[in-house]
Structures are given as C-alpha cells and as structure tokens.
C-alpha cells in the first residue's frame, strides 16, 4: 500500500498488512475513496485559509462595536475546544474498533464522538446567541461578518460530520454483519479530524490572539505584526 509505483503496482493486498478483501486494485495503491477524501481535505484547506485570511485582513477594522474584547469569552471556548479535541480521540478509537472488526465498540465510540460533537455545537449555539443578545449581529460590523462566516462554516462542517457519524452508527447497529467497513469509518474519521484541526487554527487566531482586539486601534498586536513585517520588507 505504501508504493506509489504506477508501472508495477502490486495488488493492494500484497503490500498491505490488513487487506480489505473488497478493495479494488488501483495504480496508486491507495483506495480511490480515501484518495478523494484527502484531495477534498486539501482543497478545504484553501476554503478555510481564505476565510481565515479574510478575518485577519479585517481585524481591527470595525468602526462600531461590539469588538472582540467586549464579547469573546476565551474560557468557555477553551472548554469547547477541549470537547472537540476529545471527540477526535473517540473518533480515532472508533476507527480502530472498526478496523479490528469490533462492532460493539465501534458503536460505543461513535456515540461518544456524536455526543462530544453535539456538545461542541451546543457551545457554539450558546455563543452565537449570546453575541446576538449583546448586539453583535451578522451585519453589525466587519468583525461580526467575518467571524460568523468563518465559525459558521466550521460549525456547518461539524454538523455535517455529526450526521455522517449518526448514519454510520445506525448502519452498524442495524446490520452487524455487513457495513460499515473499516474504510467507511476511516474516511469519516479523516473528515472529523480535519474539522478538529481547522478549529485548532481558529481557536488560536480568533480567540487566543484575536479575542482581545478592540476597535480600529493600531496599538493591537496585529498592527505591530504588520509594522514588523513591513520593516523587514522595506
């Protein structure tokens, strides 16, 4: 499986330590579905990269409040970050259970992941609602528009992942002898972990670093960073 030799690609099961019997032979040695998932995740990096960059560009540009420092709650979000991180752990355990063919454990770990993912979404709904009550709506200022767009798309990814995992859990519960295969769970796991790493970036940039931004004040860290970069360039 580790060979990318297209001319003499060995049958997948020869190179693999755990050959899924149904897997078709591919000239990369990697199953098409898994390859496609990685290509998708690579492209999703671009998607979130653009949204994060947009947030950073408009950082400190809002001319009316509330500003991040008025409204961002870092301790609460640290807890929700921890919850999402732990869901990655339960997800990888679910993948291991599926690979071992342990259907019961698979369902248990999937349910844990779904609950933790739901918990994360719960935190996000709470946060969004709090912001709305405090007067930060989508159209209030540049901060709110870029913040809600970025975290909203991330939340949508998590929600989609939860539905995906629910489907896997239901399928395993109803059909113990058949699907989902180890690879089915593996691919869902890749998606889930990706959503987690996106949040790692968002948490650092929007909360830990950007959570203390005030209004259009050049004194904040980003502006100092720009000056520093400009100093190097010029």
């Amino acid at each position: 499986m580790a060979h990318a030799d297209t001319t003499h690609a060995p049958p997948a099961h020869e190179a693999s330590a755990h050959p899924p019997a149904h897997e078709e032979e591919t000239n990369t040695g990697i199953s098409h579905r898994k390859l496609l998932m990685w290509v998708f995740l690579g492209s999703d990096c671009l998607f979130f990269g653009s949204l994060i960059a947009t947030y950073m560009v408009y950082r400190g540009q809002s001319i009316v409040g509330p500003y991040p420092i008025d409204i961002i709650d870092v301790p609460i979000t640290t807890i929700s970050t921890f919850v999402l991180l732990m869901s990655s752990f339960t997800m990888v355990m679910a993948v291991a259970a599926a690979r071992n063919g342990n259907q019961k454990r698979l369902i248990q770990w999937l349910v844990c992941t779904i609950v933790l993912g739901g918990g994360f979404i719960g935190f996000q709904v709470y946060e969004f609602n709090l912001f709305r009550v405090e007067g930060l709506r989508y159209e209030t200022n540049l901060f709110s528009s870029t913040f809600f767009t970025l975290t909203g798309f991330h939340g949508a990814h998590v929600t989609l992942g939860i539905f995906w995992l629910i489907c896997l859990a239901v399928i395993s519960a109803r059909n113990p002898a058949g699907r989902p295969s180890g690879e089915d769970v593996d691919i869902a796991g890749l998606y889930w972990h990706f959503v987690d790493i996106v949040w790692i970036v968002i948490f650092t940039l929007l909360y830990l670093i950007g959570g203390f931004d005030a209004g259009p004040d050049v004194g904040h860290a980003a502006a100092q960073g720009w000056q520093w970069i400009t100093g190097i360039i010029t």
């Binding site: 060979h3 693999s16 330590a17 755990h18 050959p19 899924p20 019997a21 990369t28 990697i30 390859l35 990685w38 690579g42 492209s43 990096c45 990269g49 653009s50 960059a53 947009t54 560009v57 400190g60 809002s62 001319i63 009316v64 509330p66 008025d70 870092v74 640290t78 970050t81 991180l85 732990m86 990655s88 752990f89 990888v92 355990m93 291991a96 599926a98 690979r99 071992n100 063919g101 342990n102 259907q103 454990r105 058949g178 796991g189 972990h193 790493i197 790692i200 650092t204 830990l208 670093i209 959570g211 203390f212 209004g215 259009p216 050049v218 860290a221 720009w226 970069i229 400009t230 360039i233």
Partner: protein
Amino acid sequence: MSSNPGHEGALPHEEHGAHEDAGIGRFFFGRVPAGVHGGLKQYGLLAIFLAIITLVEFLIIVPEGLQGSSVVIAPLVILSVIKFFCVVAFFMHLKFESPLLWQIFVAGLALGLVVALSLVLLFGVFRPTPRAFSENRQAPFEHHAEEKPHYEALVVPTPCPVGACPTPGGNVPAPTGSHPGQALFVGVGGCSACHTIDGVAQGILGPPLNGIGSAAANRLPGYSAEEYIRESILEPDAHAAGTADGLSQDYDGNLMLSTMAGILPALSDEDIENLVDYLLTLQ
C-alpha cells in the same frame, strides 16, 4: 484495543490480527511499516498531550498583561502548529500512509497558506488605507446590557456607489422645522452621503460644506456666493473645490461627476433653489 482483536460482531472485510500494535516509542517516533496502528494506549496518550497543550495555551493568555500582546503570538502559533500536525500525523494516520497522501494534503495546505498570506500582505501591509479610514471614522462602544445598544443608532454614512447616491439612511436626522433645503440635503437629495455639514451630515467623499454660505463669496472673483453655489451644483467640475481652497484632501473628480450626474436629473429647479438657499445660510 487493537492488541485485542474483535470478537463480537466481527466485520467480514477485515482480517484480524494482521496488524500489530506498535510500541509507544515506535508509534510516535520510529519508522513503522504501513498498516501499523495505535490503540487506546497510544491515542489516549496523544489525547492527554493535546489537552495539556490546549491548557498551556489558555494559561499563556491568563495574565492580563499578555492578553492581546504580540509577545504571545509566537508561542501560541508554535503550540497550535504542534497540535495541528499531531492530529494529522497520528489521528489521521498520515504518518503511516503512502507519501502520496502527504503530498496531496501538504499541497492543499501550502496553497491555502499562500492564499492567506497573499491576502494579508495585499490588504494588511501594502495597502494600509482601510486602517487609516477606520481610525478616522471610529465610534466608541460602551456596554448597555438592558437598554437598546446605542451603536445601533450610530450608523455610518454609506459611501455612495458610483453612479447614484442612495437615499442615505444613517445620517443625523434633520431637526424638525428645519430649512426645506436641509431636508433635501439629508433626504432625497442624497447630498449628505458625500458632504459634511457639522451637526447635519457626515459624508467624507466630497468637500465639507461648513460655512460655505460665507466662503463661497470669496472663492472666485466676480461671483456672488449664490452664483458660485448654484453653478457648483449644476456643473460639478466648473469650480472643483480641493487643493486651491486649502482643503487638506483631494477629491475623486470622476466619482464626483458620475455621482452628481446621477443626482441632478432627480432634482427640480425648485429643489436646486432650496438647496442653494439653504447652503447660503451656512455661515
């Protein structure tokens, strides 16, 4: 878990026992053949490690002096990069996969980083104008938990799109009993979207009109204030205000022409007279 292959509800596609449980050291740091996977030990250890990093990240910004400080940026970024790659390498199994998958993912990641960096450089470093714009236009924010937040009333005038100024919604409303010309100025005339009159309008795209009633008389020899103002409205480029009058700013002539061309047909002769009359009152 992986050291204890399944015994309940086995999946037919998987061959049990075909993969080994790499030791912890080998799993994280060693070279392991494809197909080796971790179990509860390895993944649990990694989860604890990631949780500790998250806790450290939080503790870094607990001291108030460090909140929003540029000193913490580097450690926070380094810690999250470590978290990021731990998840990718171990939870996503990329350490144990074909190099092709690494290349695909890193290509996407690198492209994303380049796009992000380009955007930030373009708008944040090489074109600092928006920041200066914000500084000049900032409005204070204060918390009012119970009452309706006052910043909702503080809507900033919308710069008019090229072609036509919309009816401005956010300017200071005309006081009751004001001059009909003033109502036009802040209302359907749309003038206030671009011009400033203290206490009346806050436009910034065109020259401010404070005291224009007296200033206009001295703008051009041979012109009365009334003639000057009327002609400036009807033929916006006839006496372009700007540098000659000691104003600190140049104005966009093309924007002015196209904007005024969009406004003028909507104004009747009477409207024009009302506007001129009103502007003359500004001393």
